[in-house]
């Protein structure tokens, strides 16, 4: 089969690779029909995530058609059209039993600090991902879900991570009616978090980024008030002025490890890899939120230490909430929101790239060219 293959930092190519096989009785093999490149794939692409091996296939956002199932699979059969959450989870370990599907203890031998994620380095379990023609899906009775007949493929693929993560991030903010919510980052997760904040009763939603085209999307997609941080001397002071010097009630970090805004932080993390991530957006969130407020972290960071302003968080009495999103738990309610037109995931898609040209797709997304917000990958056989 044809598959995207990592060759080293900033380098990928498409190769012929062995088609995945059933390795566990509850595995399924899914023929991928649509995949996406996630902002967090760029951390792998840039060589920031430890134990990212040459030869691995990335891709944790994908949908497809079941091609083959293992002998113990009861809920799926070949031909089923399925969406697959980015989390790999067993369903019954200590954490899964409590709904923490992103923290499953039975799927990642390489680390206890994170669960299993498709195509996300060996630190996340060493599974190949969905930027390929076929992918192995463990625990087929637990993770995948049949795509409802009414749902568009592009809505479905966005629900496997980006939109679900944004919605989850807004929930972790514990928003109450009238809250001022500031979202750092106008990528797909930030845009989804901003749109979701309204569903939870926010009184004001502010989005911060440095890319004008993404801020325009935040206004149209998420009805948000927007600010470009490059146009302001100090974004934290601006946030205080905008909130009558109280600070926002809730701040959401939807940027993560490669945040811009402080050159030293960015270079020491994204370029020199001396930190697990550049915590600029997180530090701005800590300083922008009011005392006693909540910071929700959806941005992905590596396992190494980062220079987070923890003292400010402590002194302000903040609640810091974070996790990888347990995607499947969000779906029943998210399906309603998509069907009612409250959330429109496919409006985030800006580019559709053939699998054979995926290296160009990664560069396009990484360098933020051509108004790129969300690139989808279309396998040649789809």
């Amino acid at each position: 089969m044809r598959a995207m293959v990592y060759r080293g930092p900033y380098r990928i190519r498409v190769e012929d690779k062995r088609r995945p096989v059933i390795e566990h009785p509850n595995d399924a093999i899914v023929k991928v029909t649509r995949a996406a490149i996630c902002g967090s794939d760029l951390h792998l692409y840039h060589g920031m995530m430890p134990d990212t091996r040459v030869g691995m296939t990335f891709g944790h956002e994908f949908i497809g058609v079941v091609d083959e199932v293992g002998p113990s699979v009861r809920t799926l059969q070949p031909g089923d059209r399925v969406m697959v959450p980015f989390n790999i989870f067993c369903g019954t370990c200590y954490f899964c039993a409590r709904g923490l599907y992103a923290n499953c203890h039975n799927v990642n031998p390489n680390a206890t600090a994170v669960g299993g994620i498709y195509g996300y380095s060996h630190t996340c379990g060493g599974y190949d991902g969905g930027q390929a023609e076929y992918v192995r899906v463990p625990f087929a009775d637990v993770g995948p879900e049949l795509i409802p007949d009414w749902m568009d493929d592009e809505d479905a693929v966005l629900l496997t991570d980006a939109v679900a993560t944004g919605y989850f991030g807004a929930q972790l903010g514990d928003i109450v009616e009238g809250d001022v919510v500031v979202v750092f980052g106008a990528g797909p997760v930030g845009l989804s978090a901003a749109a979701s904040a309204w569903l939870m009763g926010a009184g004001r939603v502010i989005v911060i980024d440095h890319l004008d085209y993404r801020l325009a999307k935040a206004r149209s997609f998420a009805h948000a008030e927007t600010y470009n941080f490059t146009e302001h001397a100090d974004i934290v002071v601006l946030m205080k002025k905008l909130t009558d010097h109280l600070g926002a009630d809730v701040a959401i970090d939807a940027v993560g490890a490669e945040a811009d805004g402080n050159l030293l932080q960015h270079i020491t993390s994204a370029k020199l890899k001396l930190q697990g991530g550049s915590p600029i957006a997180l530090n701005w969130a800590i300083d922008s939120v009011r005392k006693g407020g909540t910071v929700s972290v959806m941005g992905a960071y590596g396992p190494m230490f980062s220079a987070v302003k923890f003292g400010d968080a402590m002194n302000k009495g903040l609640t810091l909430r974070m996790n990888q999103c347990p995607v499947k738990r969000q779906w029943p309610r998210l399906f309603e929101h998509v069907r009612n037109g409250y959330l429109k995931p496919r409006e985030l898609v800006t580019h559709r790239i053939p699998l054979e040209h995926i290296a160009e797709g990664y560069h396009l997304f990484s360098a933020k060219l051509d108004g790129c917000i969300k690139p989808l990958i279309v396998p040649s056989a789809a």
Binding site: G8, Y10, R11, E23, H24, G47, D51, R53, V54, G55, M56, S72, G91, T92, C96, A97, R98, G99, N106, N108, P109, N110, T112, H122, G125, F139, D141, V142, F168, Q171, G178, W198, L199, M200, G201, G203, L211, D212, F229, L246, G261, A270, K271, K273, P303, M304, R333, L334, H337, N340, A359, E360, G361, H363, L364, A367, K368, L369, D370, C372
Partner: protein, 192 residues
């Protein structure tokens, strides 16, 4: 006014927001929020019928965190460790827990060795590494690289040139090294 006990007033009332934003307040009640509470006991969610899953066969000694009691019942089988990078990875997993910087620094070092060694290996294959196609730099032409940056106040424009150095630097250094080697060999042959 923040410096008194009053909360600053909302710019728009809830009714105005409900009229302007489709779905405003649909999840106002926390009971409608699927992640609330964070922990919610459901011992066998979805199609999970096992208490402990059947074990996937271990076809080679699978490296694992020393914070795990045993190999997890299911695991990824992409890219088994091999060569010098593989030896370093095995050492990182065997000796250092996830709590130690040495664990992650060794894994990062192994990643760099893996990338360099595999690039060298491709030159002995039918498909040598190609920095032009593999970096996708052609997207600069296809997707308006100049127009996407010109006149934009983008914070990333300051450090994007570093990417060229990070990606192109080793290739330029290797080409220069090869050139010097050829120059050194040729006069030696001519002298013979």
């Amino acid at each position: 006014m923040t410096y008194t006990q009053q909360r600053p007033p909302m710019a728009e009332s809830s009714d105005e927001l409900r009229a302007r934003i489709p779905g405003w307040g649909a999840d106002l009640n926390p009971r409608h929020r699927p992640a609330v509470p964070m922990e919610r006991l459901d011992p066998h969610p979805y199609g999970a019928v096992w208490d402990f899953p059947e074990r996937q066969p271990e076809k080679w000694p699978r490296e694992r965190s020393n914070e795990h009691a045993f190999l997890t019942p299911v695991f990824g089988t992409s890219c088994p460790p091999h060569g010098a990078a593989g030896a370093i990875r095995k050492l990182a997993y065997r000796r250092y827990s996830e709590g130690r910087a040495a664990h992650w620094l060794l894994l990062m070092a192994a990643d760099r060795i893996d990338a360099k060694a595999s690039t060298l290996r491709t030159f002995a294959s039918r498909r040598p590494a190609n920095p032009i196609t593999e970096t996708g730099i052609i997207a600069e032409l296809k997707y308006h690289g100049l127009r996407s940056r010109r006149g934009q106040q983008r914070a990333d424009l300051v450090h994007q040139p570093l990417d060229l150095l990070i990606v192109g630097g080793p290739w330029i250094a290797a080409a220069f090294g090869a050139y010097r080697l050829v120059r050194r060999i040729r006069p030696a042959r001519a002298r013979r």
